[in-house]
């Protein structure tokens, strides 16, 4: 469920939703969702002083509290 929520939210925030990529992985046994967006959309998912990124993480955590104990979202800059 958290993946669907992340994908939905990210696509709603960016100008190029087709460029939204999500990868599920594990780091030290913890679930991680890696989010990639078009470079021009980085500001849209991070926001002023990281405000939007923080909101994304909070919402994904809320979404995942019952199934996988809270996936961490990493926004990948490339």
């Amino acid at each position: 469920m958290s993946r669907e929520v992340l994908e939905y939210v990210a696509k709603a925030l960016v100008d190029q939703p087709d460029e939204v990529r999500i990868r599920e992985l594990e780091e030290d046994g913890q679930p991680v969702l890696e989010l990639r967006v078009h470079p021009d959309d980085m500001g849209k998912v991070i926001g002023k002083r990281g405000r939007t990124a923080k909101a994304i993480r909070t919402m994904v955590k809320a979404a995942s509290s019952d199934d996988d104990g809270g996936a961490h979202v990493e926004i990948v800059d490339e």
Binding site: V5, A12, G43, G47, A55, I56, T58, M59, A62, A63
Partner: protein, 182 residues
Amino acid sequence: MSADQHEQQVAEADEGHALSTEEWLDQLDHEADLAADFIEGLLDRLDLPGDIDIEVTEDQAFVRINEVGTGLLIGRRGQTLEALQELTRCAVQRQTEQRAHVRVDVEGYRQRHLEKLKDKCRDAIAEVRETGEAVRLEPMDAYERKVMHGLVAQSGGVVSASEGADPRRRVVIRPDREGDED
């Protein structure tokens, strides 16, 4: 474009607007519709029920979510609701490219919080009148500050201003000394 530049552009676009009342209300209606669409889709992905109500007043669009049946969207000390507000604002702004005036509430949580802030503000107004000393209210968001300024403006003998930077920006209430510049 950096996030800061984006924010700035949005803020300038807001100040530049010179809409008629009707156009302005249409814009708020549009914002509320976009917000409701975003939230409906989100509830779907969260597999949550919920009734979404829209209300547009002269300066704000309200989107209220009720009957969710869980505190999940509110979170500890309202932090998930804060996140929902931020994400909704961003989703709306991306489409309108203007500063959004949408306020999201879940099960009346923020309304209750606002009532508490109003009570504290009334107490503070009484204190300023009594002591002649300025009183600082707790940090609030832009909408909450506006409501507090409204309360102060209705009360004689006191004036208010905002100080500091978001998210720590707060309202300061002072005695109204006419002719006194500060």
